[in-house]
Symmetry: C2
Subunit: 273 residues, 2 copies
C-alpha cells in the first residue's frame, strides 16, 4: 500500500465546488493549501481564458487540466463536424488558460451502435490532434463507467482506452484514470501498468452505497468502497507523478457551504488518497 | 443478424410482472402464448414448491429457472455460512419446483474488497455444489453490471464469470448472460464464444436513456439502445437453444395493468429479440 498522498499533489476540479465563481474557488483552494486546479468550462463562461490563467497562477495554483472536450459521437456528419470544431475551440482555450491537458469524455449516442461510436471517437481525436500538437496541448481519453455507455462515452474500460491510444499512437494522446469509472475492473492493475507513460491524469472520489443517482451522487474519498490508495499505487508504479484530482459531482455537497466542502475534501484527501 | 426469435423460446420472469400472484401470472403467461416461466422466490412465498411446479406444468409452461441464489459475500464467517445454508435451501426448492437451473447473483459487500469477495463467491459455490449435483440442479453465475459491484455482485464481466467457471470446472456451473449487464463490453462477443456450452441462460430487457434509477428503470426490448438480437445471435452461435428470458424491473411497468404489460412484452419480443 502506498503512503499518504502529499498536499503538493492535491488538485480540485471546479465542478467539485460548482456553486463557487472561478475567482472565489481559486482564492479558497489556495487558502486551503490546494496546489492545483482543473477548470471546467462552465467556470470560464464570460471570462477571458488568458486572464483566468494569469489569475490562477498569481494565486499560486497550477492549471492541471481543462474539462472537458470530446462528445465526438453523433448520428449525422454535420453534428460530428460541429463537435470537431468545438474541440478545436477547446484546445485553443486550453492553450490560452495555460492548461497542458484536456480531458475527453469521448461521447456516445443511444442511436449509434457502439462499434460505430468508437470509430467516430477515433476519427474525432485524429481530426483535432494536429492543432493539439501545434499548441502543445495533450488529450486524455477518460474511460467512463459502463452506466454512461449510452450517452456519454463508448469508451468504458481501461483496456479499450489503451487500445485506442495505441491505435492513435501520438505522444499527445493518453488516458485519464478515474477511480469512479474503473475500480471494479479485475484487469485494472494490469491495464494501468500497460498504459505506462500514457497515464496523463488521475481522478479520485468514491462510490457510495447506495448510489442514489447515476450522475450526481459521488462520494468524498472514504465515504464509499473504492480502494483509492491502492489504485494510486498502481498509477504511481507507472512513473506517474502528476496531481491527484478530486472530482466529485454531488448535489449533497453542492448544497453546503463550499468552504466546508473544501475542508472536507482536504481531510478526506489526507486520510484516503 | 439472426432471425426473429420464436414464441416457443419466450420465457417471462415473474419479477417482470411482480404485482401478479404466481397463479395469475401462470394463467396470463399461458394465455398469451408464453412458453416458459422463471420463478422468483418472492412469488413462491407461502406456497408449496412441488405443488407450484405441478400447477405451472399443468398450464403448459416450462419452469426455466429459479431466481435467485447467491449473495455469498459477507464480512464475517457466520454470515457466509448462513448464505451457504440458504443456498442449499434454494437448491432444494429448485428441485421441488422442477427448475433445472438457479441464477446466482453472487454477492458483494462495500466493506469486503473485491478480490476477497471473489474468493468468497467461489468458496460459496463450491460449498453448495455437491447438493446441486446430487439433486441435478445447475447453477448459473450471472455477471452483473458494474454499477452493482458494491453490494450485489463482485462478478461484473463476462470474462470474470468465465474465469470463475473454469476455476470451478463442474458440469453444473455455467453463466447467465443478461444483455442489460453486459451490452457495452467490447469483448462480449469473444467472451460469449469462449463460454460455449457453459451459457446456461439468456436474459433480455433494454437500457433506457436516461436511466432514472439504478435498479428499477429497465426498459422493454426496443425502448433502449441494446443490440439484443445481435447478442442473441452470439449466444446461439455457441449452440445455446434455451429460452430467451424477459426480466424487466420497472416501477413504470409494475404500475400498469399487468395484462397490458404481458401484451407489450410479447410484442417487444417479436420485434426486438
Amino acid at each position: 500500500m502506498s503512503a499518504q498522498a502529499t498536499m503538493d499533489r492535491l488538485c480540485i476540479h471546479t465542478a467539485t465546488t460548482r456553486p463557487l465563481p472561478l475567482e472565489v474557488a481559486v482564492d479558497e483552494y489556495a487558502a486551503a493549501g490546494v496546489a492545483g486546479i482543473t477548470v471546467w468550462r462552465d467556470a470560464l463562461a464570460g471570462r477571458d481564458p488568458e486572464a483566468a490563467g494569469r489569475m490562477i497562477r498569481a494565486a499560486g495554483l497550477d492549471v492541471v487540466s481543462l474539462c472537458r472536450g470530446g462528445f465526438f459521437v453523433a448520428g449525422d456528419a454535420a453534428a460530428r463536424a460541429a463537435a470537431v470544431d468545438e474541440n478545436r475551440q477547446i484546445i485553443r482555450e486550453a492553450a490560452a488558460i495555460g492548461a497542458p491537458l484536456i480531458v475527453l469524455v469521448c461521447g456516445a449516442d443511444p442511436a449509434v451502435p457502439l462499434p460505430d461510436a468508437r470509430d467516430q471517437i477515433r476519427a474525432g481525436i485524429e481530426a483535432v490532434l494536429p492543432l493539439a500538437l501545434e499548441l502543445g496541448v495533450k488529450l486524455a481519453i477518460e474511460p467512463l463507467h459502463p452506466m454512461y455507455a449510452d450517452s456519454r462515452s463508448a469508451i468504458n474500460t481501461m483496456a479499450s482506452a489503451n487500445d485506442l491510444c495505441e491505435r492513435i499512437d501520438s505522444p499527445n494522446v493518453g488516458v485519464a484514470v478515474d477511480v469512479y469509472h474503473l475500480w471494479f475492473d479485475p484487469t485494472l492493475e494490469a491495464e494501468i501498468a500497460r498504459c505506462a507513460d500514457k497515464v496523463f491524469a488521475f481522478h479520485v472520489c468514491d462510490w457510495r452505497t447506495p448510489t442514489r443517482d447515476l450522475l450526481t451522487d459521488r462520494g468524498l474519498m472514504g465515504d464509499g468502497c473504492i480502494n483509492i490508495r491502492e489504485i494510486r499505487g498502481w498509477v504511481e508504479s507507472t512513473g506517474f507523478r502528476g496531481y491527484n484530482e478530486v472530482e466529485i459531482f454531488s448535489t449533497e455537497l453542492w448544497a453546503l457551504d463550499q468552504r466546508v466542502v473544501i475542508d472536507r475534501v482536504v481531510r478526506a484527501y489526507r486520510q484516503h488518497v
